[in-house]
């Protein structure tokens, strides 16, 4: 190991982590150029290469870039939208709202979005991300200000992306995907606002307010970019770069090499496609709410709170042992959580810290957090969700999708899913306790809770 490994968790959460987490975070600590420590967040679980919840900051001159430290689903992330609506306003319309969302935000295997994009248009999305969407009328200008990187990361180069990746992703803008991806209508109960000042600044300011949260990424486009580069790095690692690692899932290239730079530029295309995907989904969400509630989305106050990435590698400046350093920060299933006053935070949140959106299971709830100064210890990073503690295979054996759907309905959560099997895999008991994850991030000084959201309607991929 070149640096120590550090896992943030309570004793209970640590026991829920599978052994793979410990092996993988140890392996990450062996990567060339890693700085300070290899980290794993409290929602961590076994991934491939890096654990989910893993973080590694690399020296850009001596370190590597690893697709396994970012994930196949490049810029998988969360978006949160506020409304002026209360639970009473939507109580009798929840079926119409969820059914409308289910229809207009395609999910599951083979789903295609409503945008019929030419190759040229899709390449423009890869370069400009959500900014392209807003220019085409799929969103409001202020949406960009409330998206990490302004919804468009610079340096993306579609010439570094394979034709196959472009073909896989071109018709998927505006689709949810499957697995743990979802679109949820939630309510903020007054007793679940923990930081009223921060909540108000984030637009959470109405008792029993309705919000919309969704979780998705760069679809087949990002998956193919990751697959392509993992396979291209494999034969070069030892032969060309002289890198030997205990796990080939950690396939990597020196960041400063031509190969490393090519992946970085391609991966940024995945980041931008994902921002665009969530932007187009937001456009459809506003349409559905406007149609069902009979009022314009502006009138409904459907402003974006924030959009955060949790599968990226980005160049950032951090203080390490008293020295400012430019670092390549890999976050895989981990969320950036910048502290108050940091320059990359939207003006509106500059005094309170960057909003962080933590997606929980459809049975339990989700959180809005904020970054804090003590987050510096972890390169200003916190958890990304509740984190699985049961395999998909086990969850499918233990739970039944139809029964789960009925149980949720009885508890006031109306769910539409493409697949009952997929629904069973996402049962609440397959995940760690999100309250415990949030408590662990708070105790560790990684982030502070702002509000907790309770699901009332869910579209599952």
């Amino acid at each position: 190991m070149r640096v120590p490994a550090r896992i943030y968790a309570t004793e209970t959460l640590m026991h829920q982590m599978d052994e793979g987490v410990f092996n993988q975070v140890t392996n990450v600590a062996m990567l060339p150029g890693i700085v300070k420590h290899a980290l794993c967040m409290p929602d961590g679980h076994w991934g491939y290469g890096f654990p989910i919840g893993g973080l590694a900051a690399m020296d850009p001159d001596t370190g590597v870039i690893s697709p396994g430290g970012i994930g196949f689903d490049i810029n998988c992330g969360m978006r949160l939208v506020r409304t002026n609506l209360t639970f009473d306003d939507v109580r009798d319309r929840i079926h119409d709202l969820v059914d409308g969302l289910y229809t207009r935000v395609p999910a599951g295997v083979g789903a295609r979005g409503f945008l019929k994009l030419s190759d040229e248009q899709f390449r423009a999305i890869a370069v400009r991300g959500a900014r392209w969407c807003v220019e085409q009328g799929y969103g409001w200008p202020e949406d960009l200000e409330h998206t990490e990187e302004g919804g468009s990361i610079s340096g993306a180069d579609p010439d570094r992306v394979s034709v196959r990746a472009l073909e896989r992703g071109r018709q998927q803008v505006g689709t949810l995907g499957s697995g743990n991806h979802y679109l949820e209508i939630q309510v903020v109960k007054p007793e679940h606002v923990f930081d009223a000042r921060a909540a108000a600044a984030m637009g959470i300011d109405v008792p029993n307010q309705v919000v919309i949260m969704f979780h998705c990424g760069s679809r087949g486009f990002g998956h193919q970019i990751a697959s392509d580069y993992i396979q291209s790095f494999l034969p070069l690692m030892q032969r060309q770069f002289g890198i030997q690692l205990p796990d080939r899932d950690l396939a990597c290239a020196p960041f400063a090499s031509a190969e490393g730079q090519a992946y970085f530029a391609a991966m940024k295309c995945g980041i931008n496609m994902s921002f665009a995907n969530r932007q187009v989904i937001l456009h459809r969400v506003r349409e559905v709410f406007g149609d069902v509630m009979g009022r314009d989305a502006r009138e409904l106050g459907m402003e974006m709170v924030y959009d955060v990435c949790h599968n990226t590698a980005k160049l950032e400046e951090h203080t390490v042992d008293g020295r400012r350093r430019r670092l390549l920060v890999h976050r895989k299933g981990a969320t950036r959580a910048f502290a108050p006053g940091m320059p990359d935070i939207p003006r509106r949140y500059r005094e309170i810290g960057q909003p962080v959106i933590l997606g929980g299971s459809m049975e339990t709830g989700s959180y809005l957090l904020r970054g804090v100064p003590s987050g510096q210890q972890a390169f200003f990073t916190t958890a990304h969700g509740s984190g699985r503690c049961m395999s998909r295979a086990q969850a499918k054996k233990q739970f039944h999708g139809k029964q789960l759907e009925r149980d949720l309905a009885a508890r006031g959560v109306y769910v539409r899913s493409v697949s009952y099997g997929g629904l069973a895999e996402e049962a609440g008991a397959a995940y760690k306790d999100i309250d415990a994850v949030v408590a662990a991030t708070t105790t560790a000084g990684l982030s502070q809770p702002v509000a907790r959201f309770t699901p009332i309607g869910n579209v599952k991929g």
Partner: protein, 143 residues
């Protein structure tokens, strides 16, 4: 059934072991397992479209990875779900070459019970080996 799903795959993924008396049948079983992850009623899949596939690699496990990636590509780019009906694999000068025929059809949600959307074939535990005369492939798919 020449494949079984693993209980000990990474929590968010799906793993399986596929087997066959020949490497070709083992690869066909791996393709069937991949299809079964995406389609809960694979028996409903009709053979309406054909594609010929060709992949090469120095290692048989990476050749299988590339073969399964072809099926995932067809799912996203052409909305085709496919099984392999014919596979021919061989090693020449240290390089594995696989030719296959894929048959299937365009996704039809009215007949197909769709399940998990496979993102990618991972390198995690990826392995193809011959054990006691039987070929076995271990594969973990990212979901």
């Amino acid at each position: 059934m020449p494949y079984r799903f693993l209980d000990d795959a990474p929590l968010a993924d799906v793993g399986f072991v596929a087997s066959g008396d020949t490497i070709e049948n083992c690869f066909r079983a791996a393709a069937d397992a991949t299809l079964a992850v995406m389609l809960a009623n694979p028996q409903a899949l009709q053979d309406r479209q054909h594609r010929t596939l060709h992949v090469e690699n120095h290692a048989p496990d990476l050749a299988l990875l590339k073969l399964l990636e072809e099926l995932i590509y067809l799912k996203d780019a052409e909305r085709l779900l496919m099984r392999l009906t014919h596979v021919q694999a061989g090693e020449h000068n240290g390089r594995w070459s696989v030719d296959a025929t894929a048959e299937g059809e365009t996704i039809d949600a009215s007949r197909h019970r769709l399940s998990g959307d496979v993102k990618a074939v991972t390198l995690h535990r990826l392995n193809v080996q011959r054990i006691n005369g039987e070929w076995q492939a271990t594969v973990v798919l990212d979901i």
